[in-house]
């Protein structure tokens, strides 16, 4: 296992109390695995991604253990995480445009970034140029300011920068959402090639778009209201989902070939619970078509068949 997360809880501090955005998640990511992380807005998927890299001031670590390559990550301590961030675990944020310093040429920014980690900038130049070639950026982007690059170019530049030190784990948070379909495909395929070239060992790709994950991910993890609902190999999640939420979610997605006139898709009635004071037991209970008495107890996230995990009493 490259990454092992055990019972991680991260809450947000608000005036009204703690928002339980990430409420006890346990999962592993294998070497070379691209794990897709899907869920609706507010389900805690970005909180999970961010908490593995950097806590923002509103986030509060409650409990849980994160191990990367057998070493425990001190995720609750932003200063201690400096030893791991960028070298061992790195993130590509959603808005690449705001990830680059607008007042520096990209080459200079890169040099400063690497130097801040105690690595002489000139030692990485050959590798940097090789990777720019690989993603189809000309080498003179290093002499340009971020404003001179298009959205797709900036996204590719940030991807090269985030992975230049070959981190074990890369977190890609909604990096394809703001792009056009054609650029989206190129960026998604680039993620796969970074893994294939060994620039990163494993990857967590966070998105609300399950169809993108179907194209590139090895496994898909579905989150609902701060908890994991299901994790399984991509093909199983798409073709044979077990958790009622995953089933309804997958069946509500329109795709090319499905027409309103011929087959009417249905959404999921109701809305997710507020995480300020979530109900006890299964959090999908109120919207679930097969819920029963038993669902007042919280279902454990268990392996129902090899490599297929789900948190539901009805499938265990």
């Amino acid at each position: 296992m490259s990454l092992q997360v055990t019972n991680l809880r991260v809450y947000y501090r608000t005036l009204a109390g703690d928002v339980r955005a990430l409420d006890g998640v346990t999962f592993g990511v294998a070497d070379g695995e691209i794990m897709g992380l899907a869920g609706e807005s507010g389900c805690g998927k970005s909180t999970l991604g961010n908490s593995l890299v950097r806590f923002d001031p509103r986030m509060r670590y409650i409990e849980g253990r994160v191990e990367l390559e057998g070493l425990e990550l001190p995720i609750w301590d932003n200063a201690a995480m400096n030893d791991f961030r960028f070298k061992e675990v790195s993130i590509v944020p959603q808005y690449a445009m705001s990830a680059l310093n607008p007042t520096r040429k990209i080459g200079r920014m890169t040099a400063e970034l690497v130097a801040a980690r105690g690595i002489p900038p000139e030692t990485i130049v050959p590798e940097l140029e090789r990777r720019l070639d690989l993603v189809g950026l000309s080498r003179d982007v290093l002499d340009r300011y971020p404003i001179e690059l298009s959205g797709g170019m900036k996204q590719r530049m940030v991807m090269v920068l985030s992975t230049i030190l070959n981190p074990s784990l890369l977190i890609a948070d909604e990096i394809t959402s703001a792009l056009d379909v054609s650029t989206q495909k190129a960026v998604a395929e680039m993620l796969v090639s970074f893994r294939d070239h060994g620039f990163v060992k494993s990857m967590i790709v966070i998105t609300h778009d399950v169809s993108i994950l179907y194209q590139i991910a090895d496994t898909i993890t579905v989150m609902y209201a701060g908890k994991l609902a299901e994790k399984a190999p991509t093909e199983s999640i798409i073709s044979a989902p077990r958790h009622p939420y995953t089933r309804l979610l997958i069946s509500s997605l329109p795709e090319v070939g499905v027409r309103y006139a011929e087959r009417r898709l249905a959404g999921i009635a109701g809305s997710p619970p507020l995480l300020l004071d979530p109900p006890a037991g299964c959090r999908f209970r109120d919207r679930c078509p097969v819920a029963s008495e038993q669902c007042l107890q919280e279902p454990p996230f268990v392996e129902i068949e090899a490599g297929h995990f789900a948190a539901c009493w009805k499938v265990a």
Binding site: Q215, I238, P254, Y260
Partner: protein, 319 residues
């Protein structure tokens, strides 16, 4: 019938508006009642500009948009008010369409002042309830709430309900479900289907091919302001003719087919078809122009399926 006839829009950009930025170039299509037309394009294709021109939020540079034969640019005063009773729009971001200081039903109240000032309270309430019913909203759960107390899907449906207060015949829906979550977006999409069955014509503007394919009867594909292909949705998606449409369909992520499989099906990664530019085979460059001196920008490939030139600017030979 809502008709666009060679509509173009040129924005003035730069200091003192010194530069021209053509956003829409010679777009023509028609939309009848009871029909969903999806306008598909990537960012910068001019799809939102087309919607705004239909709603008269911006002017047309050249060309003509007409409703049942009347040029909408000539409307003013009562005529314009009558037009807005017929055509309304709903936009992408439901959260910024509402004033957070007012309760969500404030948007309905504004309609009343504008269009129904003579209506008695009881009649008005009946009207509001009927239109909320049409969008599957429970009046008790939505009226007298602030925008932040409602979900994105509820707000978006409330905006559709606002448009339905008038006896509209056409709705311009610009990316109305892009910001909604997967489990609720399909409900808003189905709502459009139900309204269509009641005789409403809907212009569904989107960048998402699978949504356009799901809901629309006809599809118009825009690229940099030009229509590259249009026709019956089943024909455009089943047999895409223009290299750009083929590329779009090959790049759209699908749920049960991998990119490689779709590309193989379309042949050569969704690139151009081997026989070259279909437009100019159907409409050779040396063929004389029409009676009014205009050359068409689209050629009819089959019944209800039209394709444009491979070259964007359409000048001269293309292959």
């Amino acid at each position: 019938m809502l008709t666009l006839d060679r509509v173009s829009k040129v924005y003035k950009v730069g200091t003192f508006g010194g530069k021209d930025l053509p956003a829409v170039r010679g777009v023509s299509f028609e939309m009848g009642p009871g029909e969903v037309v999806s306008l598909i394009g990537e960012s910068g294709s001019g799809k939102t500009t087309v919607g705004k021109m239909i709603l008269r939020l911006i002017s047309v540079t050249t060309g003509r948009i007409s409703i049942d034969g009347t040029d909408i640019a000539t409307l003013g005063g009562d005529g314009l008010r009558a037009y807005y009773r017929t055509v309304q729009g709903v936009f992408q971001d439901p959260f910024s369409s509402f004033n957070p200081m007012y309760k969500a039903d404030h948007v309905l109240g504004m309609m009343r002042r504008q269009y129904f000032s003579g209506l008695a309270d009881a009649d008005w309430l009946a009207k509001v309830e009927a239109s909320l019913q049409a969008v599957n909203l429970d009046p008790g759960q939505t009226l007298h709430k602030y925008p932040h107390q409602l979900s994105g899907g509820q707000l978006q449906r409330l905006l559709v309900a606002r448009a339905l207060l008038l006896d509209i015949r056409y709705l311009v829906a610009d990316e109305i479900i892009s910001m909604l979550d997967a489990s609720t977006r399909i409900d808003v999409l189905n709502l459009l289907g139900e309204l269509r069955e009641r005789g409403l014509g809907i212009l569904f503007i989107t960048h998402d091919l699978s949504l356009g394919n799901y809901i629309s009867d006809r599809t118009v594909i825009l690229r940099r302001g030009n229509v590259v292909e249009m026709g019956a949705t089943a024909k455009v998606f089943g047999n895409p003719l223009h290299p750009y449409s083929r590329m779009l369909i090959a790049a759209a992520p699908q749920l049960h087919r991998k990119w490689a499989a779709v590309a193989a099906e379309l042949g050569a990664g969704g690139g151009p078809r081997p026989e070259g530019c279909l437009f100019h085979r159907l409409y050779p460059p040396d063929r004389p122009a029409g009676a009014d001196g205009e050359r068409p920008t689209l050629a009819r490939a089959e019944d209800d399926h039209f394709v444009g030139c491979v070259r964007l600017d359409g000048e001269g030979a293309c292959s």
